[in-house]
Every structure is written in structure tokens, then in C-alpha cells.
Symmetry: C2
Subunit: 189 residues, 2 copies
């Protein structure tokens, strides 16, 4: 129950961090043990000791970073009590970063890699499923009339809009915010 | 004004078709002149004569196929007069194909390639922009109260949902249809 990171944990985190930063720079397939070892300042043998294969390392790095990207921004937004205000804050938070944010490049590199890696696909799918469930429960608790359509539509639209904004950095989130906020308005509004 | 395809047009189409079918199979970077020539049954010199560089060929093939994928299905749906019915038909049409449809794999290969190819990025962005405008005008003509939020939200949600369904083939489009149809309901409904 000692919370201080052990030297082992520190090295493992450094390796994962190095891999996550390399994916958007050199592409999924370009993340090799040699490059990760160089960036993390360790030797390649240490990588295999801490995280197994390079394929496993790419998966751990990518899924961890994707979850953090979404959960941090969405968690911040859900401190609002009003669902429409939360949806607006979520969209503004996700669109605040540069449209060519390395975290978004990492997300799309991972999605393409997932076509050829069933375990990666299952892990990203599970992460999206938890996000939908989280939004559903949060909307249901706050009396949103149709929490499931709202959660599914918002999750899909977030992903699609981030992708479209990477193609077109000037894309304005305002109409999307208006569209999605309408889904969580109370029936009486 | 002779509508019969000339032998030149036929060869160019065969080359583009071969490139489009190769992208999802071997990945963006794996589409080489040699592979395209083999599949199209031409020699590599013919490719350069008809479409210029291999980079240009990949772009023409990808953008053409992406447009056809969306425009065919959306065009079919917009023969409905009722906006909610059209949105439902659009979603069912786009989700009817196998979730690992080669056309979807091609779409995501292209999106990742677009991060490293400004011309490809601009062409896909322009194509999405035309789709938003088309939906906007169609909704506006049919008296949808907020045609811009509806068009932007539906375009984003379509892209995001197709992507999520590739990760999770069992994802049910019904809640998304309910969410998006609500955006195009008439105020009085």
C-alpha cells in the first residue's frame, strides 16, 4: 500500500509515454523497440521485460492515451449540472486543442491499426462503450427524456466532428453544439 | 458527344478501380505502380500516362470512391419527402453493408493518409463540405426549423458512427436514428 512509484513503475511509464508520443510522429508501424528505447532512454531489453512485445506496447500506449484524451475533457464538462451546458462545454473542450493535435493523430492511427489488430479493436470498442454508458447514466440521472439516443448520438458526433475538424481546421463547432444540446433539453423546454 | 467510352477512358477507369480496391487490402502506402499495373492488367508506364504519379492515383481513387459511397446512399434516402424518414433511410443504408466493408477501410486509410498529404486532406474536406451543404439545402426546403445544426450534426454523427461500428460490428443504429430524426422534426411535431 505504498503509493510512491517504484523505480520499476517509473520506467514502465516512461516507455509507454515514449511509445504514445511516437505513434503520431512516425505512424503506428514506425514505433519500433529501437525508437522507443532511444526516446525513453532505456535499452530495448527493458521494454520487453516491462511490457512484452512491441505490439502490446503500442496497444497499451494508444488505448491509455485515447481514454485520457476523452475522459479528462468529458469529466470536466460533467461538473456542470445542466445537460445542455455540459454538452456545450464538452464540445468546446474537445475542439479547443489544435485540430492537428498529436492526440487526435494518435487516435486515427490507432483506428486504422485496429483494422488489422483484433485485440486493439476490442479495447477501443470497450472504451467507447463505457463512454456511451457514462453519458447515458449521467443524462438519465438529470431527467433527460431520451438518454440513450442522446448518449449514442453525442458519442458518434464527437468522434466524427473531431475527425472532420482534422481535415478542415476552420470547421465551426457552434451548429454542432446547437444540434447536440437540443437532444438533452428537457421535454418542457 | 459520343457517349461510348473510348479505349483510353476504359483503361483510366480500370487503373483507378484497381487502385481503389487495393487501398483497403494492402494499406495506403502499399498501393504501388507495380501492384496497380498487375491488378489492372496494364504495364506501369500506362499508369503514369493516364493519371500521373502514384500519389495522384491514390488520391483520385480514394476521393472518387468515398464520394460514391456517401452520395449513392444519401441520394437514395433523399427521394423520401419526409425529413425524419430520409434520415432513417440514410442511416439504415449506410449501416447495411458489412461493418468491415472495404469502402469503410478505404475511408479510414485515406483519413490517416490525409494527415500527411495536404491535397488529399483538402479534397476530402471539400467533399464533406458539399455533403453538409446538400443536406442543409434539402432540410431548409422542407421546412426543418434549424437546417444548419441538423446538417452539421448528422454529417458528424454519420462519420463517427460508421467508424465506431467498424470497431464494434454489433452496434445498433436505432438510438442514433432516434436522436438524429428528432433534429429534423418540424417544430409543431
Amino acid at each position: 500500500m505504498n503509493n510512491a512509484p517504484s523505480p520499476r513503475t517509473g520506467t514502465r511509464e516512461k516507455i509507454i509515454e515514449a511509445a504514445a508520443s511516437l505513434i503520431p510522429e512516425v505512424g503506428w508501424g514506425g514505433v519500433t523497440s529501437r525508437r522507443v528505447a532511444e526516446r525513453a532512454g532505456v535499452n530495448t531489453g527493458v521494454i520487453h521485460y516491462h511490457v512484452g512485445s512491441i505490439g502490446e506496447l503500442r496497444r497499451i500506449a494508444a488505448v491509455g492515451r485515447i481514454q485520457t484524451f476523452f475522459l479528462d475533457r468529458i469529466g470536466d464538462a460533467l461538473t456542470q449540472e445542466d445537460p445542455s451546458a455540459a454538452v456545450e462545454l464538452m464540445l468546446r473542450g474537445l475542439c479547443s486543442s489544435d485540430s492537428r493535435d498529436p492526440e487526435l493523430l494518435l487516435l486515427y492511427e490507432s483506428l486504422v491499426a485496429a483494422n488489422r489488430d483484433d485485440q486493439l479493436r476490442a479495447e477501443i470498442a470497450a472504451s467507447l462503450s463505457r463512454l456511451r454508458q457514462w453519458l447515458h447514466d449521467w443524462f438519465a440521472e438529470r431527467g433527460v427524456a431520451r438518454p440513450l439516443p442522446a448518449a449514442v448520438t453525442i458519442t458518434a458526433a464527437l468522434d466524427g466532428f473531431l475527425l472532420q475538424r482534422m481535415l478542415d481546421p476552420d470547421l465551426d463547432p457552434t451548429p454542432l453544439i446547437e444540434g447536440l444540446a437540443a437532444l438533452v433539453k428537457h421535454e418542457s423546454a
